[in-house]
């Protein structure tokens, strides 16, 4: 079986991909301008003919999540508002964002746009080694959120056998995996860890479940967490990036170093954080700006994700010619200055997942005492540990934190079950300083 999902587009020379994406960009820009009220208004001063070179793309303003929301409040047609790019009768599926940062965004998918989205996802699954031999278990609450619906349909399309794992508790899911001998999974990294933990509590070694391959979705996957999941299940664990607004747009190949952008489905720009006008160099951090190039029902143009990632190297040994990005460093809004030092909550996650398997849940809280910022790590440790052992973990964590972040912190041990648990979109970082 060919190692590529599409041996033609995945190995096109760079210049060819650039040329195709530039052409597609103009097509979708013109489409959005003619079919979506938001873009009719927003792109008033911009004519497609003015976009003559790749550099001219920067003349097109970014689209922000906030605008999508604004254009849905009391704007017809209900509930999609001004972004809708097809007649409402053509909408075949409703999706929405989780609303963790405000009012949810309602996302319309036409049959065509949904299938386009699935086709893009087929690249992600195939690249991660999912094949028709896999019986893939999908442990998620089938709901209004997009996470995993893409995985479900794309896995079906590439020929896997899909087992919908909704409406079961974690124990029920462990039992279902055993009963059906499922050999692949996709889930949020946090939940895959939970399943492994539940299995161990049931006296079952997660390795004996026979999971060969897993794909993370719905939340970031720091390298340490990825390795931890691989270690627990004895499987290969892959990452992908996407969101409700943008679709899944990048995935990890067998090299497991960074993520390939699915080209030429998406135009992905990585722009410098200060001016948002310069494409960053390999190894440099950039803000991810995305234009899905063939999705007409929700035609976002230059969507600024506010996510920051490191630009990956060219020439992946896998032979794909697409651009790569390394893992997401954090959200523009999550990276904060604390006592004058740039702090990303992901560093703490990385530390806990790689060096502290005894910590079952945690939360980072930043407060201000007089003029001094204070970081508190609230942790829950494995309840079978003694008080002395817990205290020693807390001490080691505080030291590790100082080394990794250059900032001191307090560690507070909480009783078991105090901290919230997350299946999707974990919110383990709380900045309570106000006006920071």
């Amino acid at each position: 079986m060919n190692k590529y999902w599409n041996s033609y587009t995945e190995t096109l020379p760079r210049e060819e991909l650039d040329r195709i994406e530039f052409k597609y960009f103009k097509n979708i820009l013109s489409y959005a301008k003619n079919h979506s009220n938001l873009y009719k208004e927003k792109l008033k001063g911009i004519e497609v003919e003015d976009i003559k070179t790749v550099e001219d793309i920067k003349k097109v303003p970014f689209t922000y999540k906030e605008e999508l929301r604004k254009w849905q409040e009391d704007v017809d047609p209900f509930p999609y508002g001004g972004i809708l790019g097809v007649p409402i009768e053509e909408v075949s599926t409703f999706r929405q964002t989780s609303g963790t940062t405000g009012r949810p965004v309602y996302v319309p998918e036409s049959y065509e746009s949904w299938q386009w989205r699935i086709e893009s996802w087929c690249h992600i699954l195939w690249m991660a080694g999912f094949r028709p031999r896999h019986r893939i278990f999908l442990p998620f609450g089938y709901n209004v959120y997009v996470a995993f619906w893409e995985a479900h349909y794309a896995a079906e399309k590439i020929g896997c056998e899909v087992v919908p794992g909704g409406a079961l508790d974690t124990k029920g899911r462990v039992n279902k995996i055993i009963e059906l001998k499922a050999n692949a999974m996709a889930g949020t990294p946090t939940y895959l860890l939970n399943i492994a933990k539940e299995a161990m509590e049931m006296g079952i070694d997660p390795k004996s479940l026979g999971i060969e391959r897993a794909l993370g979705a719905g939340e970031p996957l720091p390298e340490a967490t990825r390795l931890r999941i691989e270690g627990l299940y004895g499987c290969k664990m892959f990452d992908h990036i996407g969101s409700t607004e943008t679709c899944g747009f990048a995935g990890m190949c067998e090299e497991q170093k960074g993520l390939h952008i699915v080209e030429p489905f998406f135009l992905v720009e990585m722009l410098d954080r200060e001016t948002l006008s310069r494409e960053v160099d390999v190894g440099e951090q950039g803000v991810i700006v995305i234009t899905p190039l063939g999705r007409k029902s929700f035609p976002v143009i230059r969507f600024n994700t506010n996510d920051v990632a490191v630009k990956g190297p060219d020439n992946c040994p896998c032979g794909r010619t697409s651009k790569k990005m390394m893992e997401i460093v954090g959200r523009v809004d999550d990276i904060r200055k604390i006592r004058g030092v740039l702090f990303s909550p992901k560093t703490v996650e990385q530390l806990i997942r790689s060096e502290f398997p005894e910590i079952v849940e945690y939360e980072i809280v930043v407060t201000r005492q007089d003029i001094m910022d204070e970081i508190t790590l609230r942790i829950e440790v494995d309840p079978s540990l003694s008080e002395e052992q817990a205290a020693s973990i807390a001490k080691r964590l505080a030291e590790g934190h100082k080394i990794k972040t250059n900032l001191t912190c307090k560690v507070k041990i909480e009783p078991a079950g105090t901290l919230p648990r997350y299946d999707l979109k974990a919110k383990r970082f709380k900045d309570l300083r106000g006006g920071h």
Binding site: Y8, T9, Y111, Q115, W116, P264, G294
Partner: protein, 51 residues
């Protein structure tokens, strides 16, 4: 690739013709429309576009 693109074009024309041959038949119109959705994806898969 040119030969593949020509074939995709043929499927497109054929599906459009199917729709026009039976405009009253919901099943034929819908299934032909679905073929056109996959034609759209095939155009993406072959980087084919209308100038």
């Amino acid at each position: 690739m040119e030969e593949i693109r020509k074939e995709i074009k043929k499927i497109e024309e054929s599906a459009l013709r199917l729709k026009s041959l039976a405009p009253e038949n919901n099943s034929i119109v819908k299934n032909a429309s679905i073929i056109l959705v996959f034609v759209y994806l095939l155009k993406f898969a072959t980087a084919m576009w209308e100038e």
